[in-house]
């Protein structure tokens, strides 16, 4: 076990954990952040995506010891139902999910995309999200939601 300092959603947190533990389990079990989801544990589906230093990363495959003092943002760091982030508001407006299990990854990946490219084409959105799987197949709504968020931010 080791004490690991993390910076999550703008707050410093210290956890006492096996340093090989993937970040995902620390976020979910030690820090009670349930936005990021376990999907595959292999970095293949995107459900566990968080933003680290401005990039979308797969928290299921990152040992917590490797992210000491990096700036981590989870879905909770964007907004709440009471005060949603523009992206979350756009996803609500487009009703862009069914079960929603993959939506953490969709929104966090979209956040990074829009931060880097505020006005992406449909093709660029598809490229950015191609590594995020959705079994209910809400893809078209996700694309529309991201386009709406870009539009409303412009």
């Amino acid at each position: 076990m080791a004490r690991v300092s993390l910076r999550v959603n703008g707050t410093s947190r210290v956890v006492d954990t096996d340093p090989t533990t993937p970040l995902l389990y620390v976020l979910r079990n030690d820090l009670s952040l349930q936005g990021p989801k376990f999907g595959c544990g292999l970095g293949q589906c995107g459900a566990c995506t968080v933003i680290m230093d401005g990039n979308a990363v797969r928290s299921c495959s990152l040992p917590v010891s490797s992210v000491r003092n990096r700036a981590i943002t989870t879905l909770e760091g964007l907004g709440t139902v009471a005060r949603p982030h523009p992206l979350q508001r756009a996803f609500i407006a487009e009703q862009a999910a069914q079960c929603g299990m993959c939506m953490n990854g969709m929104i966090m990946t979209a956040k990074v995309l829009l931060d880097k490219n505020p006005n992406p084409s449909a093709g660029q959105i598809k490229d950015a999200l191609d590594g995020n799987l959705c079994r209910c197949a809400s893809h078209l709504r996700v694309i529309r939601a991201i386009q709406r968020a870009a539009r409303e931010r412009a």
């Binding site: 096996d18 376990f38 999907g39 009703q95 079994r135 709504r141």
Partner: protein, 765 residues
């Protein structure tokens, strides 16, 4: 630990059509003879009490209690709309309480797209009965006859004198109704207060509108509590350990092999079930990976792969052979046909492929248990756990928390039993989540189907004969059969499997038409190719086969595929209407297929290596009718099929929530395209080979087609299922579009580039 060597001949050994010797299978016929008591699917609150269905809080909030669970399809919102409509309360005042076995009536499992069709009327009538009772009490309170009362936003007023009013909350807020309602039948067939007249649909204000889904906002912020997010005090983490080879059992388990992992609490072994429990999730994962288990040599093996599986289906006598339709004289008509067609179609094992794997929390204390999961069948899960633990059914409290979109996978919900076994072993609550390889490897699969159709045309291009024969596996894990942990601990399946009926999935009125279905025996032990219902079970393959055959005949007769189909839909007006609507929306130009032998009107579409084509197919399911037109591109150099657009016309009776329905249709079509284009479970005699998303790919953003939708609203009809119907015809429409584009007929799913290229090179027609 060399696996037994079993030749194909051994397991295909049949005599007189009867299976006589199977190392692989338990003896099916003796199982049938045993009968067995089906696992009870009963319990819950009494349906003849209004309080079992509805409660009004002092602030006017109306709580709606239902065991019909929302699997992420929006049915919770839709049922809420139906109740709000009957009661005339604001939709924002509706609070759905879903899937708690101590607080709901058993309305049966949630599957087969039956929620709005079956639970819809149950909830509507319960709400109508509540409104009637509330008006009766308001009448007494206001001193006006019930006939002079109106309701708006949960407030009852005297017509023409709105100062005289009283709210529902003032009448019953915070108190039980204590009112009996008529109820008969059970589960799907439960009838509630049938004598109460509900609202006339022409007065609907909430039903028929796109009320935003109740569940979605917190799903976009992390505030929604899925089954995977349930945490209870003192909770430990469990992981299951599955055998590497099918049918092998743990001969010995070396507990010392995980002793050096901090946090390991216990290695749990019971029968062939093996699991580990640890203080942290990561310790449980590490321990499950590190645990040294010596597995017995397997007593039997799978067929050596998908091709051997189709041989097995072909060569094994069914334990059930059912005739669905037998009209006219098919044999004579085939003999007399001017042109005969015979083709065999293959549909593979496929996965449900939940994004979030199976997960449950169980807390077993003495002879009581509390369980949380995303089961599609709260009472079946509850009663299965009672049997597993040997405790009374009512001592198991099942609490639904939504899981991942599951498409039939969580009707046999395994994780709750895993969690229950491990919780009992450690005396503390245990959360179990399957790893990705557990889910891909051990989820029950959608069964493979082998369909042969013989048909005939007369000299004028009329269909004179249709002989459809399907061979497939039953559901071995459906409904009433024990889950994995039960089977691993010695509880035998109650049923041989759920034998299928004999439908061909199409509504055409052919004078000489026969359909048969053979259910082939399959393993009922815990194994990675056990079978369960997968979205629109069996229907996609049936539609693929039947609609491909129809397309072949239309092309041979040089008749436009839409017109050809309409000739046989005279008795099926709604189907004909959706077919016309889809064709119109897609800009369908009447012409025979370009691949038609009769010179169909123009050169192939596209340019260079890219050929374009369009195809049509229709389907029906539980009263809902759908037509789809697919526009595809085929890269002739690589064999890659790209679906550009699918146009859908959909009629499911009255539409409760148009946007919710569109959401379902988009998902169904895209998932249907995924299954047709790329999905196949790969296995060998030892087990399933594709145990992650790289080896079992599903459709990705770059490959997703546009979906253009026409909704046909039948306001005078009851609501029918929207959850699956529009997934059925997508594969068939794509296959027909590929035929139109390049003239090759695809008769096996998935339409991988390799398979398409092979067909192009062989010129398969």
């Amino acid at each position: 630990m060399a696996p037994h060597s079993i030749s194909r001949r051994d397991f295909l050994k049949t005599t007189g059509g009867l299976v006589v010797s199977f190392n692989l299978f338990e003896p099916v016929l003796s199982l049938l003879a045993q009968g067995g008591t089906p696992l009870s699917n009963a319990g819950g609150l009494s349906p003849d009490q209004l309080d079992s269905w509805l409660a009004v809080a002092p602030d006017g909030t109306v709580s709606v209690f239902t065991s019909k669970v929302d699997l992420g399809t929006g049915t919770g919102t839709a049922l809420g709309q139906i109740v709000a409509e009957e009661l005339d309360v604001l939709i924002s005042k509706i609070n759905m309480e879903i899937g708690d076995t101590t607080r709901t009536v058993d309305q049966g499992r949630t599957s087969a797209s039956r929620t709005l069709e079956r639970a819809g009327p149950q909830m509507r009538q319960a709400a109508a009965a509540a409104r009637q009772e509330l008006l009766k009490r308001a009448s007494a309170s206001l001193g006006a006859p019930a006939g002079q009362l109106t309701v708006a936003d949960g407030v009852v007023s005297v017509a023409g004198d709105s100062a005289k009013n009283i709210s529902y909350a003032a009448l019953v807020g915070g108190k039980p109704f204590d009112t009996k309602v008529a109820a008969s039948g059970e589960q799907w067939d439960l009838k509630v207060a049938p004598e109460v007249k509900p609202k006339d649909p022409k007065d609907y204000k909430v039903v028929g509108t796109s009320v935003p889904r109740f569940d979605l906002p917190p799903k976009f912020t992390g505030e929604f509590t899925y089954a995977h997010d349930v945490r209870v005090p003192g909770m430990l983490h469990g992981r299951v350990v599955r055998p590497p080879v099918v049918n092998s059992k743990p001969a010995s388990v070396d507990e010392a092999s995980v002793r050096n992992i901090p946090g390991v609490v216990k290695v749990v072994q019971q029968g062939s079930f093996v699991g580990v429990v640890a203080e942290t999730e990561w310790a449980a994962i590490r321990a499950a990976r590190a645990l040294k288990v010596t597995w017995s040599a397997p007593p039997g093996r799978f067929p050596a792969g998908p091709d051997a599986m189709y041989d097995y289906l072909q060569n094994t006598r069914g334990f059930s052979e059912r005739v669905g339709v037998d009209n006219g004289n098919v044999a004579a008509a085939l003999t007399q046909a001017a042109k005969r067609f015979e083709a065999t179609y293959r549909w593979p094992f496929q996965m449900h492929g939940m994004i979030g794997p199976s997960c449950a929390v169980a807390d077993v204390q003495g002879d009581k248990a509390t369980v949380w999961s995303g089961s599609q069948a709260p009472f079946i899960t509850r009663n299965g756990i009672a049997r597993l633990l040997g405790i009374r059914e009512e001592n198991v409290h099942f609490i639904y928390r939504e899981g991942s979109g599951c498409f039939g996978r969580l009707e046999p919900d395994d994780a709750p039993e895993d969690a229950a076994l491990m919780s009992r072993a450690v005396g503390r609550p245990v959360r179990v989540q399957w790893m990705r390889e557990d889910e891909h490897g051990w989820e029950p699969k959608g069964p493979p189907q082998l369909i042969t159709i013989r048909s005939g045309l007369d000299g004028q291009g009329n269909v004179t004969a249709w002989d459809y024969a399907e061979r497939t596996l039953p559901w071995t894990d459906a409904r009433l059969s024990p889950m994995l942990a039960s089977r691993q601990t010695g509880i035998r399946p109650d049923e041989n499997g759920f034998a299928i009926g004999g439908g061909d999935g199409i509504p055409y009125a052919f004078a000489n038409r026969k359909t048969t279905a053979a259910s082939i025996p399959w393993m009922t032990n815990p194994n990675p190719l056990r079978t369960a219902n997968l979205r629109a079970p069996y229907a996609q393959a049936r539609c693929f086969a039947s609609e491909s055959q129809m397309d072949d005949m239309a092309a041979a007769a040089s008749i436009d595929p839409v017109e050809f189909r309409l000739r046989y839909l005279g008795e099926s007006k709604r189907t004909a209407d959706v077919l016309r609507a889809a064709a119109n929306k897609a800009g369908w130009q009447a012409r025979p297929s370009r691949a038609s032998g009769g010179g169909g009107g123009g050169s192939a579409g596209g340019s260079g290596n890219i050929a374009t084509g369009r195809g049509v197919a229709i389907s029906g399911m539980a009263g809902t009718v759908v037509a789809q037109v697919a526009d595809v591109e085929v890269d002739k150099s690589s064999g890659k099929v790209t679906v550009r657009k699918v146009t859908v016309a959909h009629d499911c009776g009255i539409i409760v929530n148009p946007d919710g329905l569109r959401n379902q249709i988009e998902g169904n079509v895209i998932q249907g395209a995924s299954r047709a284009l790329m999905e196949e479970v790969v296995f060998d005699s030892a087990g399933v080979k594709n145990v992650n998303w790289n080896s079992y790919p599903i459709i990705r953003f770059r490959e997703v087609p546009d979906v253009d939708i026409v909704l046909i609203n039948q306001r005078e009809m009851p609501p029918m299922g929207g959850g699956e119907a529009s997934s059925i015809a997508t594969g068939a429409a794509i296959a027909n579009a590929v035929f139109d584009a390049v003239g090759v007929r695809l008769r096996q799913v998935p339409f991988t580039p390799e398979r398409v290229l092979r067909a192009l090179r062989a010129g398969t027609v």
